[in-house]
């Protein structure tokens, strides 16, 4: 299986086991009082038991209800609806009868991964599963039609299906899907189905309403943190604030007599948790708990010290090449630069950032010597199951994970299931009891898996005509894979570092053509754990590249659009979205008084995106982003109104990062502990967004992330146009934009 297992956390969980025996868990006994007890809530999967499936993806009930099974997680991005549209399209069913369910990760393993990959990240939900889910719908349709034909004793070729009704052409007889579903389920699935041409789509490609909206407007929607089980205990945790530190000791007796407190337990070797009747009781108690920490080797680490290490990497010789053309080595590039009549250089930097999902990390776990079950919001049910089994010390077949709707994911809930391991570790210490672990916001802020920290140095050689002759982009800084999946580092290279900077290809290629190009990476890994953060490395790579290209245009007195167009002649899809954003954004035309424009383009997650931002900066330095025009070519557009929602949301995420997003380290720990010190974009700061979806067909790109990357550079290039100030160190909040 492909579940990513974090080596570092696995080590901790082994120590956890020893710790829980040796430390002597402190147990108290109080009867439960006053806590609302409810029966287990209805989980997302609507039980389809009793009705045989047609394919792994489709169940049709006698009342014509269609249940589409969705393996990828829904976290707001809308792919629950989009994937259902793709299945329903090929099934030719009545869309108003469609509902969805999540098959569990345990079922997937038991059925030889019939639902494929559960990982929901990298804007992959639709682009990487569209083919097999559409096939799942098409096969089911063929079986239903065959069953109807068998019943009428006519050839299937004389029957057609539409909106869950099968019609026999010559006789006009009809039957509904629900009436033949049981017979169809007994047939051998055909292997020769042909998928529709997207131009014939009637359900996919349409601006359909999401399937999961209503309950989110009434409070009825349950999230992981809302779950309640009979006898459940609530856990609040404090993990060592310095990454890599451990618990020396704690004085459980200091909080033992507090109301509702039932247990004070060690979690691994780095955390302590209080289990109480209510979470609020647990949180108050764990805050009052005296804990002595061993902060370990990183007790004095700081962001300033990281910055020095990264800075040294900008000129180091130990870099790994990600993309080179026209030159082969660093020495070649240095020679090309030395030969250029003019050289332009700049250094940029990008800080650590927290995902800050609105719902903090949480899981319910129940452990017995025979079985361990976990209910949790996760972007990767299979990885959550692997983490559960590992922490439970049980065979994976004796474990199960029930995926819950996520209150935000953004990459935090995918690769590393540290909170699941903690919940299981606690559940193991109180066998048979449901334990709900919920992180406080403060715990969530200081125990993230942060956007990697990097710096970037550009050196460009320019000839007398303003043409770039040599282009060196050196990235120095943190590797996500080195922390999350070190087995994927080959010959010192983390390929994800070069997102958006790769040679021509289907995933994330640089569009610009330079006669001599070298992009390399000096890996420098501070102790703060990095993670996949919505947009991942495309974010800072695009920021760096698009701002520096803008610098080159201005330095050589060329129009930033014309300059880019000249460099994109061999990248027609990159060029097309750029031209569209520029045209609709009014580039080259007069802007409202005091308003200035900036451009950016990139390719990532299989899609091509560009933006034209309009900003103004007041005399006292207040930046206002008025409007952004964004163009996206995702190949195919499965639900355009949800793509628009993703593009708008991408600007909120990207502008939050650009303007405010920064987690700083002092004394080995993250300083920002809540939204009052970790600002994010507010409604009043949100610009108008105009989204142009221009699917050119022939490929499938993602839409949840790529646009984030153009938010910052489009705005910063507009800020330069407005003020002449070039911001090279993010975030913007650390700079004054006041007129001198």
């Amino acid at each position: 299986m492909s579940a990513v297992v974090d080596d570092r956390v696995v080590r901790i969980s082994r120590r956890e086991f020893i710790g829980s025996l040796a430390a002597g868990a402190f147990v108290l006994g109080f009867p439960l009082r006053g806590v609302a007890q409810q029966s287990p809530p209805p989980f997302l999967p609507q039980p389809s038991s009793g009705t045989p499936e047609l394919t792994a993806w489709v169940v049709v009930k006698p009342d014509d209800t269609v249940i589409v099974r969705v393996a990828r997680s829904e976290m707001g991005q809308g792919s629950l609806t989009g994937l259902a549209q793709l299945v329903a399209e090929e099934l030719d069913c009545d869309w108003s009868k469609v509902t969805t369910e999540y098959p569990t990760p345990g079922e997937n393993l038991a059925r030889k991964r019939v639902w494929g990959n559960y990982s929901t990240g990298g804007s992959r939900g639709i682009r990487e599963s569209n083919e097999y889910v559409r096939r799942g719908g098409a096969v089911a349709r063929a079986m239903l039609v065959q069953a109807a034909a068998n019943g009428w004793q006519v050839p299937a070729s004389e029957c057609r299906a539409a909106k869950s009704v099968i019609t026999h052409g010559p006789s006009g007889r009809t039957v509904t899907y629900g009436q033949v579903a049981a017979a169809a389920a007994k047939l051998q699935p055909p292997t020769d189905v042909v998928l529709k041409d997207p131009k014939d789509w009637t359900i996919a490609g349409k601006r359909l309403a999401r399937l999961d909206t209503v309950d989110k407007t009434t409070g009825a929607q349950k999230y992981g943190s809302d779950l309640v089980f009979p006898g459940m205990l609530n856990a609040a945790i404090v993990d060592c604030p310095v990454f890599g530190g451990t618990v020396k000791s704690f004085d459980a007796s200091a909080v033992a007599s507090r109301p509702g407190v039932k247990h004070v337990l060690r979690v691994g070797d780095s955390g302590v948790a209080v289990l109480a009747e209510t979470w609020w009781q647990a949180k108050k108690a764990v805050e009052a708990l005296p804990v002595e920490w061993d902060f370990g080797e990183h007790a004095n680490a700081s962001s300033a010290a990281f910055a020095d290490v990264l800075k040294a990497g900008l000129d180091a010789d130990d870099a790994v090449v990600g993309n080179a053309s026209g030159v082969k080595t660093l020495a070649d590039m240095r020679a090309s630069l030395a030969a250029a009549p003019r050289r332009i250089e700049a250094v940029y930097s990008y800080p650590h950032q927290n995902h800050a999902t609105m719902e903090t990390m949480n899981a319910v776990a129940r452990w017995t010597p025979e079985r361990c079950e976990v209910w949790t919001p996760t972007q990767n049910g299979e990885a959550a199951l692997a983490a559960t089994a590992e922490a439970a010390g049980l065979p994976i077949a004796q474990c199960e994970v029930y995926k819950q709707l996520l209150g935000g994911g953004f990459g935090r809930r995918g690769a590393v299931h540290d909170w699941v391991r903690q919940a299981v570790d606690l559940a193991k210490q109180v066998p048979g009891t449901h334990v709900k672990l919920l992180w406080s916001r403060e715990e969530d802020m200081v125990h993230g898996r942060y956007h990697p920290v990097t710096q970037c140095k550009f050196s460009a050689g320019v000839d007398a005509q303003g043409n770039v002759t040599a282009f060196h982009m050196r990235i120095s800084g943190q590797s996500i894979l080195a922390s999350v999946a070190p087995e994927n580092i080959k010959e010192g290279k983390d390929p994800v570092v070069f997102q958006g900077l790769n040679p021509p290809g289907p995933e994330a290629s640089i569009g610009y053509g330079f006669p001599a190009l070298l992009i390399d990476h000096a890996m420098r890994n501070p102790h703060v754990p990095p993670g996949f953060w919505r947009g991942v490395n495309l974010n800072q790579n695009t920021l760096y590249l698009e701002c520096f290209v803008d610098e080159l245009a201005h330095a050589t007195k060329q129009d930033p659009l014309a300059f880019r167009q000249k460099l994109l002649t061999k990248s027609p899809k990159h060029l097309a979205v750029l031209n569209m954003a520029a045209e609709r954004g009014g580039w080259g035309k007069p802007a409202p008084k005091g308003v200035y424009r900036g451009l950016a383009q990139t390719m990532g997650f299989g899609s091509y995106v560009a933006a034209c931002a309009e900003v103004s900066v007041s005399d006292d330095g207040v930046l206002k982003v008025h409007r952004i025009v964004a163009a996206t070519d995702p190949g195919h557009a499965v639900n355009p109104q949800q793509i628009e929602a993703q593009v708008e949301g991408s600007f909120v995420y990207g502008l939050s990062a650009a303007l405010f997003g920064e987690c700083t380290v002092k004394d080995g720990r993250i300083e920002q502990r809540n939204f009052n010190t970790y600002r994010v974009l507010a409604l009043h700061e949100m610009p108008a967004v105009e989204t142009i979806i221009m699917p050119s067909g022939g490929f499938w790109g993602g839409v949840g992330e790529p646009t984030i990357a153009v938010a910052a550079p489009a705005v910063l290039n507009a800020v330069f146009a407005a003020t002449g100030k070039r911001i090279r160190e993010l975030p913007v909040k650390n700079h004054s934009l006041k007129r001198a």
């Binding site: 609302a36 707001g76 349409k206 609105m358 916001r441 109104q641 949301g649 909120v652 939204f675």
Partner: protein, 165 residues
Amino acid sequence: MPSLNVNGTMRDYDADPDTPLLWVLREQLGLTGTKYGCGVAQCGACTVHIDGANTRSCVRPVSSVSPSMKVVTIEGLAPGGSHPLQKAWVALDVPQCGYCQSGMIMAAAGLLREAPRPTDQQIDQAMTNICRCGTYNRVRAAIHLASGQVRTAAIDIVHPDRSTT
């Protein structure tokens, strides 16, 4: 045993006086539509109405809410999700992950009580709730739709009941 008037019903609870209203609603009364986001009145996910006024329940000690005060949560805003804001939210598919949306809708409902036809500036000032998915522009459009300032939805969305497919 102390009690609260929540969504028109008197409810007993058993909690320390300094327990925030949020946790009494969620953990004792089973009203989980009101969310925990920050605990320091920054994000607004916990917004409820007390006597009609927007209140961030994560910092409001339950003991300061007397039985004579009327607490309304998202579950009690309108029967069956029939509030104009809830309808507008559905019409425009506002929520993404949805976690902050109870608080958003409650904050917007408080705004409409003060300003039945709010300007963009009033919306800017009143809607300080945080959304990380980035629903802000649809939130604004839905408030305008619910307040009757626009006749038709600004965003073309096909709902099953008027599906042409």
